[in-house]
């Protein structure tokens, strides 16, 4: 396998793994937010705000990985 092929392969794998991590993380976050809102509907608005903030932070980390994958895929 040439280095170009390996770079493309790793870019693909990396993107998949990043999405896996983000999906698991944000899924757990959404589950906790739903449960919290169900237990105490009066603070549902605050919970929703915190959920969006936390989701954006998790997604930020995921996009670090995506940027690395895109760098690999472009340079390859």
């Amino acid at each position: 396998m040439t280095s170009t092929a390996l770079a493309f392969l790793s870019a693909g794998f990396g993107a998949g793994l990043a999405v896996l991590g983000a999906g698991l993380g944000i899924g757990k976050l959404a589950a906790a937010a739903m449960e919290g809102s169900a237990r105490q509907p009066t603070v549902a608005g605050d919970i929703r705000t915190s959920m969006i903030i936390a989701a954006a932070l998790i997604e930020g980390v995921t996009l670090f990985a995506i940027v690395v994958c895109v760098l690999l895929a472009i340079k390859a």
Partner: protein
């Protein structure tokens, strides 16, 4: 539903395409071009394929290098065209009259327009200050924002109405929910101008990128780095103002005994820079990723070479487009929220430094200083 659309796309694409676009450009160019043309014209209801128009014209230029007035794109592949749409450049595209007839993709080459007038060398380093596409888009978004804001304050009355009312909702949201909650009641008003500016600027620049023929300036690493540097400078200024320079430097040591300082200080200094770095990459990657997904979905039509792929591809791209609208708002909000949290942390650290240390153990986020992170548990009281 999405799975169905993807399956439909890929199945229908089997009939049209033989090789991927990178493989044999001249042969695939003609059927791919007509396929794309047919797809875009056969479904006039999909007006959102304006992005598709832009790709299709660019591919038309890329694969038929002989079209009039396009010396700058010759024989580009699909991924090259995608990269060209997302990155900065010197060519502005617009629909209009050029070379005597109406065309969908007239070009304005800024490098030719400015020549060498704005390029100079300072101390052996060459600076080229000719405006680029992202810079022009940033200026346009700023002009739209300024016009909107000045128009909304033109008629002031005791009871807000109309545009002023709408703007007031947003500004009040930033002031109350973001600034006052994270920085505290007494210090917030000093930083609200910066936070409101950052919020509106990023929001308008992000939204501008969704217009056909326009580009997202925040999809440029330089712009996001500049925003993060502003936040960094303001955070450090707030910290130093609250703690004094000596207290600020003492905070950098982290309160360990002095033999550990050579380890602690580099780590703390590095920790100072991770937050702006994260702000930069988060905003940049969110904006660029959305555009790449939309362009890839529409480029799939050309990669698979069949017009029927558009049946599945364009609705998916439309869905991602709506998500992009949401992401534009959320990223502006997150940038502003995180900036205010960092400023609040810098100021709160000053208060903690002056208090007794046993009080520090009792409340993680002390309420009596009037600053609390949004959404902390109600039990903390």
């Amino acid at each position: 539903m999405n799975a169905f659309l993807i399956a439909l796309t890929l199945t229908l694409g089997q009939h049209g395409g033989e090789q991927p676009a990178q493989g044999a450009e001249p042969q695939v160019a003609a059927p791919a071009h007509e396929g794309g043309h047919g797809a875009v014209q056969e479904q006039p209801g999909r007006a959102e394929a304006a992005a598709g128009h832009a790709i299709e014209r660019d591919l038309q230029k890329g694969e038929h290098g002989a079209a009039a007035g396009e010396g700058s794109h010759e024989g580009g592949s699909l991924s090259d065209s995608l990269i060209h749409h997302v990155t900065d450049g010197y060519v502005l595209e617009y629909p209009g009259i050029c070379e005597g007839h109406f065309a969908w993709n007239c070009e304005l080459d800024l490098k030719e327009a400015f020549g060498d007038k704005l390029a100079f060398t300072v101390g052996g380093v060459r600076f080229d200050m000719t405006p680029t596409k992202h810079l022009i888009m940033m200026w346009l978004a700023s002009i739209v924002l300024l016009v909107l804001l000045f128009a909304s304050v033109a008629k002031r009355s005791l009871v807000p109405r109309g545009l002023y009312n709408f703007m007031e909702v947003l500004v009040q949201f930033v002031r109350d929910e973001i600034a006052k909650k994270n920085i505290g009641e007494e210090d917030a008003d000093r930083f609200v101008p910066y936070l409101v500016s950052a919020f509106f600027f990023i929001l308008f620049v992000n939204l501008f990128g969704l217009i056909p023929y326009a580009a997202t300036a925040t999809g440029n690493l330089g712009v996001t780095v500049a925003m993060a540097v502003f936040t960094f400078l303001i955070t450090q200024y707030a910290s130093i103002k609250a703690m004094g320079l000596g207290g600020y430097l003492k905070h950098l040591t982290g309160g360990v005994p002095w033999p550990l300082w050579p380890i602690m200080i580099p780590v703390e200094v590095l920790g100072l820079f991770t937050k702006p770095f994260a702000l930069t990459v988060r905003l940049f990657a969110n904006m660029v990723a959305g555009h790449i997904v939309i362009l890839s979905l529409i480029g799939l039509i050309f990669a698979l070479g069949s017009q029927w792929v558009a049946l599945g591809s364009v609705p998916l791209a439309l869905g991602i487009f709506v998500l992009e609208l949401f992401v534009a708002f959320v990223q502006a909000f997150i940038f502003t929220m995180l900036s205010s949290i960092f400023i609040g942390q810098g100021i709160a650290a000053a208060h903690h430094g002056h208090d007794e240390h046993e009080a520090h153990g009792e409340h993680a986020a002390s309420d009596d200083h009037g600053s609390h992170v949004a959404g902390h548990a109600p039990g903390h009281g």
